[in-house]
Symmetry: C2
Subunit: 303 residues, 2 copies
C-alpha cells in the first residue's frame, strides 16, 4: 500500500471513521486510543454507514505512541482543544519522511504542526461530512460528503496524489485542494454559524435552526462576515457558495455539529480554532465582523 | 391625596413595589392579583428595601377589575407579553378623567394603550431600578434608582406634577421626563444588552457578564447600536451615557435582570417590546444593527 504504516492520533468520530475506512481497505492503520481502548481491542471499529454497517476487527489498538512506534503517515484527528498534548504524542511516531496530515477543524492547525514537526511534513485535510460518535469505537455517518487534501507549503505533488488514491480506494470521495487555505475558509463558512448557533440557540440541531427564517437570515449574515474576512485574506468565495451551504444543510435533517455534541457532553469546545482564529484575522485585516464577535463572546461564556 | 383612588394592574415586582410604596405613604392603592391574592390578602405587601423591611398590611387586594371599580389612576405594570389581556382588564377601571400610567419595559407601550383607552389618558414611566420578586407578595429592592414620568402626548403638566409629588412623598426618587420617548431609548440602552446577554450567555448575572472584557466590549457595542437607532429616530444619547451604564451596573453585584428571571422561571420573555420593537425601528430608519439582530434571533430560539 502506498501509504505504508499509518497512525491515527485522536480516535474520536473523525479518526475512527477515516482510520476505519482505510483499515477496511487493507491499510496498516494503528489507532491511538484512551477511553475506547478496551472496546476497540476486543470488538474493533464499527462504522454505521448510510445503508450498511462496517466492522473492522481486529485492528491494532494502542494506548501510547511508543507502542505504535515510527510510521509513514500520522493522521491527526484530535480536537484542537487538546493541541497542547500533540507534540508529545507525535514525537515517538516520527521518522525520516513521516508525513503528518491534520484533519482538525478551524484555522491555524497546519501552522501549529509546522512549528513542532517542520513544515515539510505537514498536510491538511478538510472533511465535509456528518459524523457522530455514537458509542465506544462506533461512529455513525449521516452524510458521506467528501475529503479535500492539500499540502501546507507548495502545491499538490506525488505525496498528496498517493494519499488521495488510498482514500479513494477506501471508498472515500477524496479530492485535491489547489489551495488548502481556501478550503479551510470554505469550511469555516459552514462551521462558524452552524457549530456556533446550534450551541447559542440552546442546543438545537441544524434542522430546528433552519426552521426559523430569522435565524436562517443570521446564519447567512454570519457566512457573509466569514466570506469578507476570507476575501481580505486573499481568498475569494463566491456568493453562490454561501447559499449552497444552507441548501445542503437542510437535507441533513436534525444534525448536531461536533461542537454542539462536545458542548452537550460538557467537553471543551474548539472555540480557538473555529471562532477566535478568524476573529483575529478580521482584526489584523481591519474587517468588521460584529456578529462573529458577539457569537464568540457568547460562546466563551457558555462553553 | 392628589392621586385619588389607584389601581395596580400587574402585581409583579414592579407593581408590588411602587404600589406598596404609595400605599405605605397613605395612598388608596388597590392591587389586582392572581397567584399572590391569598398571600397579600392575609399578610399584605412586603418590601425588602436596602437596610429595612416595609410591610403594608392590610391592603385592598382584588381578583377582578370589576371588584376594584372605577379609579382615578391605573398603574400598568403587567409584562408586555400579557398585553393582549390588558384592554379587558382596564375597561372596568376607567371613568371620566382616569389616567393610565404604564411602567412597562420597552417600546410601544404608550401607543398600545392609546389605541385602547385614548391617547389623552396615557402617561409613561421608566423605572431605573433593581427589583426582584422573591416570594408571594414580596419584593426585594437591590438598587433604589429612580422613576421618570412623562406624558405620552404633549409636555409635562399638572397631572404629571401631582403624580411626581405623590411618588416623592412615598420616598421614591421621581423625576419628570422632558421627552418620554428619549427616556425609553435610554432605558433600552441598558435593557437590550443586559437583559439579552444574561440569557444568551447561559443564564448568568450581570456581575459574571461584566467579568469578561470580551463580553463587556460586546455590551458596549450593543449599546452603540441602540444609540444609533435612537439617533436616527431623533433621540440624541451622549457617548458618556453609555459608558456610565456599564459603570453603574458593576456595583449592582450579581444582579439578574427581569427578563433573565422570566426566562429561568420559564415565563414568557418580553422579546417584542425590548428587542423586536427597536429592531423594527432600525429597519424602518435604515440603521445597521447586526448584533441586535443576531441577539434577537438567538433569544427567539431560546425563549
Amino acid at each position: 500500500m502506498a501509504c505504508g504504516k499509518i497512525a491515527i492520533v485522536g480516535s474520536g468520530a473523525v479518526g475512527l471513521y477515516y482510520g476505519g475506512m482505510l483499515a477496511a481497505s487493507g491499510c496498516d492503520v494503528h489507532f491511538l486510543l484512551r477511553s475506547d481502548y478496551e472496546w476497540v481491542k476486543r470488538r474493533g471499529v464499527c462504522l454505521l454507514l448510510p445503508g450498511r454497517e462496517l466492522t473492522v476487527h481486529p485492528v491494532p489498538a494502542h494506548r501510547t505512541p511508543e507502542s505504535i512506534g515510527p510510521v509513514d503517515l500520522v493522521i491527526v484527528a484530535l480536537k484542537t482543544t487538546a493541541n497542547d498534548a500533540l507534540p508529545d504524542l507525535l514525537g515517538p511516531l516520527l521518522q525520516e519522511g513521516t508525513a503528518v496530515l491534520t484533519l482538525q477543524n478551524g484555522l491555524g492547525n497546519e501552522a501549529f504542526l509546522a512549528r513542532h514537526v517542520g513544515a515539510g511534513r505537514v498536510m491538511g485535510g478538510l472533511c465535509f461530512i456528518c459524523l457522530n460518535r455514537v458509542g465506544p469505537g462506533t461512529v455513525r455517518n449521516y452524510f458521506p460528503g467528501n475529503l479535500t487534501l492539500g499540502e501546507y507549503r507548495g502545491g499538490p505533488g506525488e505525496r498528496i496524489a498517493a494519499l488521495v488514491a488510498a482514500f479513494r480506494e477506501a471508498g472515500i470521495d477524496c479530492r485535491v485542494a489547489a489551495d488548502l487555505n481556501e478550503t479551510r475558509w470554505r469550511k469555516l463558512v459552514w462551521n462558524v454559524p452552524f457549530n456556533g448557533l446550534t450551541i447559542a440557540a440552546g442546543g438545537i440541531d441544524t434542522e430546528r435552526l433552519l426552521a426559523s427564517p430569522g435565524m436562517t437570515g443570521e446564519i447567512a449574515a454570519l457566512m457573509h462576515e466569514v466570506r469578507a474576512i476570507a476575501g481580505a485574506a486573499g481568498v475569494v468565495i463566491e456568493e453562490e457558495f454561501l447559499r449552497r451551504q444552507i441548501e445542503i444543510t437542510r437535507p441533513m435533517g436534525p444534525y448536531r455539529p461536533s461542537s454542539l455534541i462536545d458542548f452537550m457532553d460538557k467537553r471543551p469546545v474548539e472555540i480557538e480554532s473555529i471562532w477566535e482564529a478568524p476573529l483575529r484575522e478580521a482584526e489584523r485585516l481591519g474587517v468588521s465582523a460584529p456578529r462573529l464577535r458577539l457569537l464568540h463572546a457568547v460562546l466563551r461564556a457558555l462553553c
